[in-house]
């Protein structure tokens, strides 16, 4: 795992618990979440139609798309409820000195 792929997203207090922030890097958009047991990251665009998940609802371990209520598990990326049927890509997250990093491949 090479160090250079860890990208700094922001400070740990920039996300409220059970919420998310959008993070854009180069030409890609990610969502970074704070759940009760830590931080997680997924692609920022719904796999059903190209809509940003940043406006979606985070409940427990799930993110629900604001457009058509497709639901994904934030930790695994699994598509849980139609119309979403394609899983969401997830990314490793680490916290170092109160800063959040995600590993982009």
């Amino acid at each position: 795992m090479s160090e250079e792929n860890w990208i700094e997203v922001g400070s740990t207090d920039s996300i409220e618990e059970e919420d998310l922030i959008r993070f854009d890097h180069q030409d890609k958009t990610f969502c970074v979440y704070k759940l009760t047991d830590g931080f997680y990251a997924t692609d920022g665009i719904c796999t059903h139609e190209a809509v940003h998940l940043e406006d979606g609802l985070v409940m427990d371990d799930e993110i629900e798309c604001p457009m058509h209520q497709g639901i994904f598990n934030i930790k695994s990326g699994e598509a849980l409820s139609p119309p979403a049927c394609e899983d969401l890509k997830t990314y490793p997250v680490k916290v170092d000195n109160d800063k959040i990093f995600i590993k982009i491949d």
């Binding site: 059970e18 139609e49 809509v51 940003h52 940043e54 406006d55 979606g56 609802l57 629900e64 798309c65 604001p66 457009m67 058509h68 209520q69 139609p82 119309p83």
Partner: protein
């Protein structure tokens, strides 16, 4: 015990019911009888991304034939023309006979047709299925000025798509607002403004007196004597439940097939789900018939559980959406039972929602905004409605305050 379960109707409610039955019952035979020679597919994209060529036919299917094969669910393309509930048999046009132990009716709904001179019947197009969508897509490529009769969801979604294909579009609506059957006027007016900004012409409060064909084009005469010239006509004037097959049977019908909260009809071992069912909703304590994606799915799943012997009440709070241009409109609950209306937001760029309350509890809400801007709040509203939460109007009306603070865990 091994049963024969037949699902009459190969749409969304039918496929979701079939898979739910299989989840709970590994032994019974499950057969879906569908009138279209296609596996169950998603209809919402037909008026939008399919017309715009952003989605192809192969993107529309809920599940591949492999999924059905793995779950041992049979699908047969057949048209049934007689039902014998007493002897539990269905008769097909080709003389095939199907016996069932349990029957789910998920025949859906069909488009209302304009009453017109017979010689114009083939000139007016309607959109419900893939074949009709393909036809419209092919023909409009050579047309320029298209008239849509009916300013409901389907008409306006087509109007939005055709405008994006650079067509001149005119929408004629008989009522005094768009989407008047279920959408509050405040929201409908915001959607109307967007259509007008994109160049669509919206004509309200007008009835069609006569349509005349002239040199391959059409002249539409309205009741104020104005004349519209157009080269293609699509009508979307509502739908009716598909119940013709049951009209002379003991099955209780009233705006669809009457069912209780367990999807059970008036006849034992016969269930109904989706658009065709006029079901009892225990939360609203009344019967209702819904035509929506979420309802077809959840009602199908509920029917599947009940057929498999897992007694389950249907309690989903209604939810539906429409996408037009860059707007996403969403509705949750019921917006016609209220003693108070609360507005959240004023600008579609940030989303505008109207909440309909009775005794300080939300009964329904409707919102519209640039894509992504109302979904989260509408979803939270569904949860607040379902939990009968007494809401703080201050939080509802202030867009700077997050609605999820109101959810009691």
């Amino acid at each position: 015990m091994k049963n024969n379960i037949i699902i009459l109707g190969g749409g969304q409610a039918g496929i979701y019911a079939a898979r739910e039955i299989r989840q709970n019952d590994s032994k019974s035979n499950i057969k879906i009888l569908g009138e279209e020679n296609l596996l169950p597919y998603e209809r919402p994209p037909l008026s939008k991304d399919f017309l715009l060529d952003k989605k192809k036919e192969e993107d529309l299917y809920f599940h591949s034939s492999d999924v059905l094969k793995n779950e041992n669910i049979e699908f047969e393309n057949i048209s049934i023309n007689k039902v014998d509930f007493e002897n539990k048999k269905l008769f097909a046009k080709n003389d095939n006979v199907y016996s069932y132990d349990s029957l789910l009716i998920s025949t859906g709904s069909e488009n209302k047709k304009l009453t017109l001179d017979n010689n114009l019947k083939n000139d007016i197009y309607y959109l419900r299925n893939l074949e009709e969508a393909k036809k419209i897509k092919e023909i409009v490529s050579n047309k320029n000025k298209i008239t849509i009769i009916g300013g409901g969801f389907i008409g306006l979604e087509i109007a939005s798509s055709l405008s994006q294909l650079q067509k001149k579009v005119i929408v004629i609506e008989i009522g005094n607002q768009l989407m008047g059957r279920i959408i509050p006027k405040q929201i409908a007016d915001l959607v109307q403004n967007t259509h007008i900004e994109h160049g669509n012409e919206i004509i309200l409060n007008k009835q069609i007196e006569k349509i005349t064909k002239k040199n391959g084009d059409y002249e539409i005469l309205l009741n104020d004597n104005s004349l519209i010239e157009t080269d293609f006509i699509i009508a979307g004037i509502g739908s009716t439940p598909t119940v013709k097959l049951f009209e002379n049977t003991n099955l209780k019908l009233d705006n669809g097939i009457v069912t209780n909260q367990f999807c059970e009809t008036s006849i034992k071992d016969v269930y109904a789900a989706g658009d065709v069912s006029n079901f009892y909703h225990p939360f609203y304590e009344r019967n209702m018939r819904l035509e929506s994606y979420q309802h077809a799915q959840n009602h199908g799943i509920c029917a599947g559980k009940n057929i498999a012997g897992v007694k389950t009440e249907y309690t989903s709070i209604p939810w539906m959406w429409s996408d037009q241009f860059n707007l996403n409109l969403q509705l949750t609950g019921i917006c016609d039972e209220y003693d108070e209306i609360i507005e959240r937001g004023k600008d579609i760029n940030n989303g505008v929602i109207y909440f309909f309350l009775k005794n300080n509890k939300i009964r329904g809400a409707c919102g519209v905004g640039i894509i992504g801007k109302v979904g989260r709040d509408i979803r939270i509203t569904s949860k607040l409605t379902e939990k009968n939460t007494i809401v703080d109007n201050q939080i509802l009306s202030d867009q700077n305050l997050k609605l999820n603070k109101l959810i009691q865990k």
